[in-house]
């Protein structure tokens, strides 16, 4: 009799535990969607950014650079690989000879730079690791014009706090146009020596799949920050009014604005 009693108590305990686990799982899904709990979870992003920026990372610390032997065979294109937006298709078909990068927003001297102009600026080449938010890493060689000097010659106004990158590709079809790729970075990353506007990959002109004619490299953050098909750069004070207001295409879809981890 006693044995039976123990067994049934065990069964009850097991059922309670299983039921609790099922409830817990459903609860996690519900908490994932509730706005308040999301904002609690998102507090970790601020903590991470503050810790990485203020406590740990010297602002100039360089991302590790690799040797030619470490290069990945090819480079996995991700996101848009062949934008079909009409303006882009036209520029691509002209091999970008008439293409110009717009530099504007909160600057004293708005500029337009052709690929030839960009190639004449002092260049930086770096073999770096590209870390996708999904978890994989590729190593590629990038050559381009450092962003800092370009911003300096345009002259940032004191109110400028972020640099926005407007891209040619529409990664998601939406009615309100928020499917167009864009990104924003702060001035710490914008003036970092490894932050370049790359026009070459692995010693070849950038391929369309990898962001031709120009893509951003922000080596201390994840891949989605490194906008491809960059058409226009703007110095801005806030990104509240851009896209859905979270500072980038993937940020608008729940990913962290600070992608240092």
């Amino acid at each position: 009799m006693k044995r039976e009693a123990i067994l049934s108590r065990r069964q009850i305990l097991t059922r309670v535990a299983l039921g609790g686990a099922a409830l817990g799982l459903a609860g996690c899904d519900r908490l994932s969607n509730a706005r308040q709990s999301r904002s609690v979870l998102e507090a970790a992003e601020n903590l991470t950014r503050t810790a990485q920026r203020a406590l740990l990372a010297p602002r100039e610390a360089l991302a590790p650079e690799y040797g030619p032997a470490d290069l990945s065979p090819g480079f996995k294109p991700n996101g848009s690989v062949d934008p079909d937006d009409p303006d882009y298709v036209k520029a691509r078909d002209e091999h970008f000879v008439n293409w110009k990068l717009d530099v504007g927003g909160l600057v004293d001297k708005p500029m337009q730079l052709s690929l030839a102009d960009l190639r004449q600026l002092p260049a930086r080449a770096q073999i770096t690791r590209h870390d996708c938010v999904e978890g994989w890493s590729f190593i590629g060689k990038w050559k381009g014009a450092p962003l800092g000097p370009i911003l300096n010659s345009a002259g940032l106004k004191p109110s400028a706090r972020y640099i926005a990158f407007y891209c040619a590709d529409t990664l998601e079809q939406t009615l309100d146009g928020t499917g167009r790729y864009y990104e924003t970075i702060d001035l710490v990353d914008a003036f970092h020596p490894q932050t370049i506007l790359a026009y070459e990959m692995n010693d070849q002109p950038l391929l369309v799949a990898n962001g031709a004619p120009l893509r951003l490299r922000v080596e201390r953050q994840l891949g989605y920050k490194m906008a491809k098909y960059v058409m226009r750069i703007e110095a801005i004070e806030t990104f509240d009014k851009m896209g859905r207001g979270r500072g980038g295409f993937w940020e608008d879809r729940g990913y962290e604005w600070y992608a240092g981890i």
Partner: protein, 285 residues
């Protein structure tokens, strides 16, 4: 994780007949234990969600898509059915229903690394998985820091360090465990050698897990490039993070089984109230 406390106290009515009640776990140890347990469960499940975004493991600095150490995926059979396949060191295993392909909410077999019942959120959502993971990673680290500070301040680390005599008793201890005979009386006041080694390994594995996780951060790598040397590259760090997590899953399984076998209620009560009843050695005729 817990720490043995030396002093026995007598608690009148609650004490079992002929037994003693020992104040085993301090409040701080009990609280950090349960926070740790919650964090570990949520980190594991959100971690598997993150893993599912790229359900493969590589070694070295970069990903080699052709030669992963481990990969999970789905394969479409000639009859149209979907098969889950897990490949480890080039050897493929059919793992349909659990790894590679499992049933989604509609009951359809879909390509997925780990199944929905063990990931947070249950559906595929990397962004939300990362939110959960990093929030509870901070909590785990802060909680762990409090625990370790206490461990050193109160000199409890020695509770987990096996002595030479302990190490010589490993075979005997394995034999005792295999027969499910657990120490009684005064012996139950101290951790036996297998307990010491198991808890010590967790105290070592958790920092490795956290450091390997941090090595996946490109910003951390810029400041502490030695982490990459320590783990052999970012993809190696990801693999070590995964292995350390499953080592801890193994620990938790054994830990829970031992808690169940060696007096479930007494163990649970001791980790909730701190009071552990000592069963005296009975000499049966």
């Amino acid at each position: 994780m817990s720490s043995a406390n030396e002093g026995s106290i007598n608690v009148g009515p609650a004490a079992p007949i002929g037994g003693r009640v020992n104040y085993r776990h301090t409040l701080l140890v009990r609280i950090t234990h349960w926070i740790n347990a919650i964090c570990f469960a949520l980190l594991l499940m959100s971690g598997l969600q993150i893993f599912n975004a790229y359900p493969a493991l590589n070694w070295g600095a970069r990903s080699d898509f052709d030669k992963p150490l481990l990969a999970m995926g789905a394969r479409q059979e000639s009859d149209g059915s979907v098969k889950g396949v897990t490949t480890i060191f080039g050897k493929s295993f059919t793992t349909t229903g659990i790894l590679g392909a499992s049933r989604d909410e509609s009951g359809q077999l879909a390509e997925r690394g780990f199944p929905s019942w063990i990931t947070i959120p249950s559906y595929q959502d990397l962004a939300t998985g990362r939110r959960w993971h990093f929030f509870f990673a901070w909590l785990l680290v802060l909680n762990g820091a409090v625990y370790v500070a206490n461990l050193f301040a109160r000199r409890h680390l020695k509770d987990f360090l096996p002595s030479g005599r302990d190490l010589r008793s490993i075979p005997a201890s394995i034999w005792e465990h295999a027969r499910l005979r657990f120490p009684k009386g005064d012996e139950a006041l101290h951790y036996n050698v297998l307990q010491k080694l198991a808890y010590l390994s967790v105290i070592v594995a958790l920092p490795i897990l956290v450091l390997a996780g941090l090595t996946m951060s490109p910003a951390i790598d810029a400041t502490f490039p030695w982490l990459l040397s320590l783990f052999g590259g970012r993809q190696s760090a990801r693999t070590i993070h995964f292995i350390a997590a499953f080592y801890l899953v193994g620990f938790v399984v054994v830990h829970v089984v031992m808690v169940l076998l060696s007096g479930f209620l007494n163990n649970m009560i001791s980790m909730i109230t701190g009071r552990y009843a000592i069963e005296e050695e009975r000499h049966e005729a």
